[in-house]
Subunit: 248 residues, 2 copies
C-alpha cells in the first residue's frame, strides 16, 4: 500500500439520483475514514443497473486501496449489489452458511425466501457484522459491501473499521473569519505556496446577513499544521479580520 | 440525442469528501432534471485536483447528454474548476468581457483581482446568469459549470433550465405500506416482470418504532404507471397491508 491509504465510495440507488432520498452516508464515511487514516478520494452515485455498477467497481477497486459500496443489499428484486460485486470479481454467488444462520436466528419463524436472499454472497466473501438488523455486510478483497440505511451502514462500518490499515489521519484547523473570501485570497494563495504539504481551502458562509469565510487547513503533520495555522492567524490579523465562533 | 436524455453531475470539493460539508446539490439537481425530462444517471464527487477532474470530465461529457459541475468557481487558489474544464475541452482560459462587466457593476469599488478571477472562462463559453451574487456560471458545449453554494447553484440551474432539451419526465407513484420489505418482495418482483418499462423500488422506513416500506413506481408513460399502480394496490390489499400517509 502507498503511504497515503485511499478509498472510494460507491453509492448504489435510483432513489439518490432521483432526489427522493438525501444521501447521508458519504459525509459519515468521509469523516470516519479520515479518523482511520484513510483518505476518501472519490464517490460515485450509480443507478440500480448492472451495466453501470460492474465496470465502475472494477475500475475503482483497482485504483483505490479500499472501496465501500452502500445500498442495494436488501431482500427485493432491485437489490442487485451482491450480484454486481460477484460479477466484478468474476466469482459465483453462493449462499453464505454463517449469514443464513444469523438470519434464521434473528427472524425465527418469520424467515422467508426474500429474507434469505440477504444470505447470498460472492464466493469467498467474509461477513461484516450488523448489530442493528443482523443481515451482514460483506468483504471481498478490498471491497466492503454495506447497507444503504444509515443506521445499519454506520454499524457495519464500525464493525469493519478496526481491520482497516490506515496511514496518518489528516488533522484540520478551521478559522472562521468575518472577511470576504476575495480579501483573504491573495494571502492564502501565498501561504499555500509556502506550505504545499498543507491542504488549504476557503468556504464562504452567511451568518446574520453578513458574509464570512471559513479557512480550513489540513495536514497529516501536526507541526506543519501548527506553523501554517500561526501564519494564517497573522494574515487574518493583518487584514483586520475578526475571528468568529465556529458553528458545527 | 437519444430518446432518453441523460445527465451526470460532478461535485468538486475536498470539503464534501472530508465530510466537513453535507452535499445538498445532488438531490436538488436529480429532482429538477427529471422535471425537465433529463435523467440523472451518475454523480461523481472529486477532490480539488486537476489530475482527478480532467479525465473524469472528458469521460462524462462524452457519455452523457449533459454534465453539470458544482463547486470550485470562487475567488481563491483552490477554485480550479474553470481551468480543469478548459483543459478537458483543450481550450485556453480567457477573461470573459461580459462576466467582467457584471462583476465590476456588482462590486463597484470593492472589485479586486481575486473577484476578477471569477470572470475567467474557457474560450467560447457562454454565461449562465446568477441573480444571487452575479458571478456567473458557464456553459461550454454540453457542460454547465455551476457554483457550490446551494442558493447560488439553484439560481444558476434555474437560469439554464429553459434551454435544456429534455425528453418525457418520469412520473412517480409512491405507496407507503405497513409491511416488511420481504413480505412484498415476491409479489413486487412478479409485478416488475409484467411491467419491465416501469421502474420499481422498495425503501424500508421506520415510523413510531414500526417498520414500513415505501413502494415507488416510476415511468415516463402515465397509462402504464397507472396500470402498475392499480396492480400494486391489489397486491398490498391481498397481503393485508395498510397503506400509510406519505411523509415528505
Amino acid at each position: 500500500m502507498s503511504p497515503v491509504v485511499t478509498a472510494a465510495v460507491m453509492v448504489i440507488g435510483n432513489e439518490i439520483l432521483s432526489g427522493r432520498t438525501q444521501d447521508a452516508n458519504v459525509a459519515y464515511l468521509g469523516r470516519r475514514l479520515n479518523d482511520c487514516g484513510v483518505r476518501l478520494l472519490e464517490v460515485r452515485v450509480l443507478p440500480d443497473l448492472e451495466s453501470a455498477i460492474v465496470p465502475a467497481l472494477r475500475e475503482m477497486k483497482a485504483r483505490y486501496d479500499y472501496v465501500f459500496t452502500t445500498g442495494g443489499i436488501g431482500p427485493t428484486h432491485d437489490d442487485i449489489t451482491v450480484d454486481c460485486v460477484a460479477k466484478a470479481f468474476e466469482r459465483p454467488v453462493v449462499e453464505h452458511p454463517e449469514a443464513r444462520r444469523l438470519l434464521e436466528d434473528y427472524y425465527g419463524e418469520r424467515i422467508n425466501p426474500a429474507r434469505l436472499r440477504m444470505a447470498r454472497a460472492p464466493e469467498g466473501a467474509s461477513l461484516v457484522e450488523n448489530p442493528v438488523s443482523r443481515a451482514p455486510g460483506l468483504r471481498i478483497e478490498n471491497v466492503y459491501v454495506l447497507a444503504g440505511v444509515p443506521k445499519i451502514m454506520q454499524a457495519q462500518f464500525e464493525a469493519a473499521a478496526p481491520e482497516l490499515s490506515g496511514g496518518t489521519p489528516l488533522q484540520s484547523f478551521t478559522l472562521p473569519v468575518a472577511l470576504a473570501e476575495s480579501v483573504v485570497a491573495p494571502g492564502l494563495e501565498a501561504l499555500q505556496g509556502r506550505y504545499p504539504d498543507v491542504e488549504m481551502g476557503s468556504y464562504p458562509y452567511q451568518r446574520d446577513g453578513r458574509y464570512g469565510t471559513a479557512l480550513v487547513l489540513r495536514s497529516a503533520d501536526p507541526g506543519r499544521l501548527e506553523a501554517a495555522a500561526g501564519e494564517l492567524r497573522d494574515l487574518v490579523a493583518e487584514l483586520g479580520g475578526v475571528v468568529e465562533q465556529e458553528v458545527a
